[in-house]
């Protein structure tokens, strides 16, 4: 519902402060980044305009491709596991009535916890010699010590596990909201018709949950592509470049090696990739929702 506009400039005056901040710190940097990606500028050098050189350099850079591959693997792994665990957890949580508030509170804690602390905490727990995972869980079972953060593939999986610990509740709580929104008459009707638990899930919960699922996956993807803090704390990108997610690559290129325009070019490529994925996804979302 809208009020009638009395003095025309008011709505614009009201959005002005927000626009000023967004333009100065979001739009201007984006344009500036695009501009500088065509120049060869770094912390200690300035060779002026260079056309597409930065982009060509990136496309030929093995580290860049490695970081894209690492990011993709990490996102796919975390996204799938978090979705499956989150869905199971949501279905189970739906059955709980007594103490649901306590469980919800517990679930919220990981995702509010400072990511830097999460990283440090798990670096301590996954430590090969003193970590609790090796000493408390694997040793009693007679399993050998595992070098969680030292092996290239395992290190990436470990980062994934930490992300799963931190963000499965996020997916679970979104899906729980969706399940709670499904009218209970549908389940009652299905029970009367003698539908089994699985077919109730397959033919009622799943289709009606689709919008929530799409929201959960969308926001989880947007969050995963930003991953940086836990990588820094857990592995610092190592071993080698095994956990160089894209944010870490750009950070290293820019802040560590001072190749500012190269980092800017990598940013543009990242933005294009994110935009393509999000657009495809939103198209899918629209087609599912308004079918």
């Amino acid at each position: 519902m809208q009020l009638k506009r009395k003095n025309p400039p008011t709505p614009f005056l009201l959005i002005l402060p927000l626009l000023a901040i967004s333009l100065s710190l979001f739009v201007y940097p984006l344009i500036y980044g695009l501009y500088i990606s065509f120049y060869k500028v770094g912390g200690y050098y300035d060779y002026g305009f260079c056309g597409l050189d930065n982009y060509i350099w990136l496309v030929n850079d093995a580290s860049f491709w490695n970081s894209l591959r690492v990011t993709a693997l990490f996102i796919i792994f975390s996204l799938i596991v978090e979705f499956i665990f989150g869905l199971l957890l949501a279905v189970v949580l739906d059955k709980i009535t007594v103490g649901i508030g306590i469980f919800r509170t517990i679930l919220v804690l990981p995702l509010a916890t400072t990511p830097v602390v999460v990283g440090l905490m798990f670096r301590w727990m996954f430590d090969t010699s003193t970590g609790i995972v090796n000493n408390m869980f694997l040793k009693p079972l007679g399993l050998p010590r595992i070098n969680w953060l030292g092996d290239p593939l395992l290190a990436l999986i470990t980062v994934g596990i930490v992300d799963i610990w931190e963000w499965t509740p996020f997916v679970a709580l979104i899906l729980l909201g969706g399940i709670k929104g499904i009218p209970s008459e549908l389940y009652e009707a299905a029970s009367v018709d003698g539908a089994s638990g699985f077919s109730r899930f397959r033919y009622i919960t799943w289709p009606l949950l689709t919008p929530s699922i799409l929201v959960a996956v969308l926001f989880n993807f947007m969050r995963l592509i930003k991953t940086y803090d836990i990588v820094v704390m857990l592995t610092q990108g190592g071993p080698g470049e095994a956990t160089w997610v894209i944010s870490y690559y750009i950070y290293q290129t820019t802040a560590r090696y001072m190749h500012i325009s190269l980092g800017a070019a990598a940013n543009q490529l990242l933005l294009v990739i994110v935009m393509i994925i999000l657009n495809l996804y939103i198209m899918l979302y629209m087609s599912k929702q308004f079918r």
Partner: protein, 287 residues
Amino acid sequence: MMVIIMRKRRIKVSDVAAYVVVILTSIFFLFPLIYFLLIAFKHEEDILNIFATRYTIENFVKLLTEGALGEPPEAIIIRPLLNTVIISSTATVITLVVSLLAAYSVARFNFKGKEALSYFVLGQYMAPPIVALVPLWHITTTLGLLDTHIILIWCYTMFGIPLAFWMLRSFIMTSTPVELEEAALIDGCSRIGALIHVVLPLLRPGMAVTFILTFLFNWNEFLFASTLTATKAYTITVSIAKFGAWLYITWTEMAALCFITLLPVIILAILIQRYIVSGLTLGAVRA
């Protein structure tokens, strides 16, 4: 009769199973936090055991009087904590004021481009922050703002806007009836007067939730804090990262530092537990 009994029993069994699963998952999510934070209260020799026989607050006393890792307490905890409080709260207040004005404008007026504005703000949320970092870093050095409170406050305000704007927008649309404002306007109240005297009191719970959420994410921020600060304006997350990266850490003191950092976060998270997921999805999920 048999059928009824059978059904009753089946429901009970599945309920019990549900509780068992939920309790086990709760332990999975709680255990690392409790285990790690308990280290803060342990003696050095007990840190490898889950439970110690005796607990102590010595680590906190040491951290606050002698510091840790050869650093004085001023550098490792007091200054970064102070910086974090100043930066997070100032940025949160500015974010809230700016977002409230814009959200009110979008919720109450019809003007060209208001949908575009909402989606522009959404885009700001979608773009990975690292994308803004490179140019920002350059701009910051040019303006001479590196390692100051101002630049971080400015950045956090920008990052807080999407969440605050979308949350407040939906709070205004759901919890403040437009009729009350119309009445106030007819009684000769100005637009801003109506916002302050009619909308704000009704919006108090929504403002509180948005404030806490924004503050929480500002408190936890690391990427920008670590890049745009050096020795003066660094925040608590930077301090943890810096000293946590050392090869030989006194874990007891590190855990104490983390405990102090996490305490406000956990209290605030418990307070607004219902709204965290809603906030993170910009209101796409109802609280």
